[in-house]
């Protein structure tokens, strides 16, 4: 079995507008890849398309998880197959507590006649909340309801830690975070790094990559990857700016 997340020649449209253009990328399990790029280049579209959002029409290409195509799967099946999307803008769900929400997600992964053991569940939930410096009282609060930006993002990482995905896509997880919150989120992600997780970190700014050091950096522009390289590429991009990306895109288009 191949141990990687493969995105192959993915073309994605919203309505009449094509956003992703023959997009290809492979994230081997155990590695963290970063995607950087200017606004409007299709980064969030990529995240939503991988997760199976119905508004994003995949006109061709596929996404393969450990050798198995997930293109025919609904969003919930993709999640249960081991994919996780940390949302840029997590939804608020009034009246559904974090504890019940995560429990429902975990129960969905069990055979129909089985349920989580409650004491074990809370033990594991509290351990992960402690790690992410989330007050335990939050278990009784409604998911994202009235949370600050930082709390929402930590709550996303908490869900990721509890669901233990094979591959995680983190969409602008750094947006709206102050430096302290950013460090906590990064620590959380780093603690999950290892041979069982592949991660794709989508970000607009290099700042996050000071704390989550990527194995590979990809630069994205106009719906495709225009350059890939080691972590230093992020610094180069930071110093040369996104104008440079346009030049790179020109070269890619010309080649």
């Amino acid at each position: 079995m191949s141990n990687k997340l493969e995105i192959k020649n993915l073309n994605v449209s919203i309505g009449d507008k094509q956003i992703l253009k023959d997009f290809s990328l492979t994230v081997p399990k155990g590695e963290v890849h970063a995607i950087m790029g200017p606004n409007g280049t299709g980064k969030s579209t990529l995240a939503k398309a991988i997760a199976g959002h119905p508004d994003y029409e995949v006109t061709s290409g596929e996404v393969i998880v450990d050798g198995e195509s997930i293109m025919d799967m609904e969003a919930d099946e993709r999640s249960r197959a081991g994919l996780f999307l940390a949302f840029q803008y997590p939804m608020e769900i009034p009246g559904v507590t974090i504890a019940n929400f995560i429990r429902a997600a975990l129960n969905a992964r069990l055979p129909e006649d089985e349920e989580l053991n409650a004491p074990d569940y809370y033990k594991s939930l509290y351990a992960k909340m402690d790690m992410l410096k989330i007050d335990r009282k939050f278990t009784a609060r409604s998911v994202n309801d009235g949370f600050s930006g930082g709390e929402k993002k930590r709550c996303e990482i908490l869900q990721m830690a509890m669901l233990e995905p094979k591959y995680a896509v983190l969409d602008e997880t750094d947006s709206g975070l102050d430096i302290d919150a950013l460090k906590i989120v990064a620590e959380g992600v780093n603690s999950m790094r290892g041979p069982n997780l592949g991660a794709l970190v989508i970000t607009h700014y290099q700042r996050l990559l000071d704390y989550i050091i990527p194995d590979v950096v990809h630069v994205m522009y106009d719906g495709r990857i225009v350059k890939s390289g080691p972590k230093e590429l992020a610094l180069e991009l930071e110093s040369r700016g996104y104008e440079w990306v346009k030049e790179l895109a020109g070269e890619v288009a010309a080649s």
Partner: protein, 443 residues
Amino acid sequence: MSESSDAISPIKEAFNRHIEDLDTAPSWWKKSKSEAFDTFESIALPTRRDEPWRFATVKGLELTDVRFAALPSISDAASLVARSNFIENFSGRFVFGDDQTLQADRISPELAEKGVIWAPFREAVSKHGDIVKDYFMKQEAALGSEKFAALHRAFMENGALLYVPRGVEIEDAFVVYNWSINAGSAIFPHTLVITEDLAKVKLVEANLSATEDAAAFSCGVNHIFAGVGSTVDYTLLQNFNEQTLGFQINSNVAGKDSNVKTISVNVGCKRYRSETHGQIKGAGSKVEMLSLAVADHDQEIDQRTLQTHSAPNAVSDLLFKNALVDNARTIFSGLIKVDPGAQQTDAYQTNRNLLLSGTAEANSLPGLEIDANDVKCSHGATTSQIEDEEIFYMLARGITREKAQELIVYGFFEEILERISCETVAENARQIIQDKFKKRLSK
């Protein structure tokens, strides 16, 4: 025996039999019943042209299939009493089955010593006649069901009287279970709560069916008289089977500086009509009127409310939330009335409907009638569907679409459920709602 040649209507005949069966009851009680029956007969059946019945189904209100004053046969009393277990620690419990007393758990000697009265109505009529004369059905039905309030008064024969004297605070709730048992039977649940100054009490009422398929009729009344500075906390769980036609006519009078909270959880009935009147008669009082309904298939839940402010500096807060599936219908019609003297009133009225299908129908008629000039009043009604993005967020966590919808509905109701003060009652309410969804999935 009835003669077919008699012109007398079956319901009149049943009423005569009912009065005969009350042979030992005081004559004033029988007289008041006879007057009520005359009132019932004198009021025309509602039509949809009547404003208080707008949008409601009025067909079937002739009650031709109902057997009034039938002698019930109750074979499974013990199991019904065993199922009457929403609260473990209660101050008193009555279990009624087709209006017969199946179980009466009395108050402790300490409470009796303090003057608390907790009596089944039959007993109350003979032993506490003065209280019954002063308070029984002394709050007029004001929202359209005058005819059915009269019917209730004519036929009711059981229920609970709870009287709490001055300064007595009781922590553990009182609880009443009204079981509908036999097909075609009519029950008339009645709870009457009277608190004197500074008293504090909780009452929980559960209206339930013994079986899934016995079509029956229920016409209940709850009246609360909250004395000065007293606190009354009332919760009603209505989970009759979906063959039942139900009426519930509730009203409360809030005295000066009193706190009254009423919560209704409506899950059952084929058709259910509830009327809730908050009468803010004392300055500085606070009245909360909360309700939730979950309606599916062809259920119709018809809710009429009135908040009458006739004293200053008082607060009333109404929140009715409905979730609708399939072809279900709900009606919310609410009015806030502020009298000229009720300055500094804070009155809120909110109706929120969540549609889970394209064929469900939520009707909302909020209203204000304000004759004072220094008040804060707001009313609002919204009807919405579950947002796709909310569902997608849950799908992205591996939760199935059905489960995601369910969780959103449960979450929608939490705003009401978390305000139920007895935790085990809230838990039972949650369970009843969840069971309704489970039943849908298993069909």
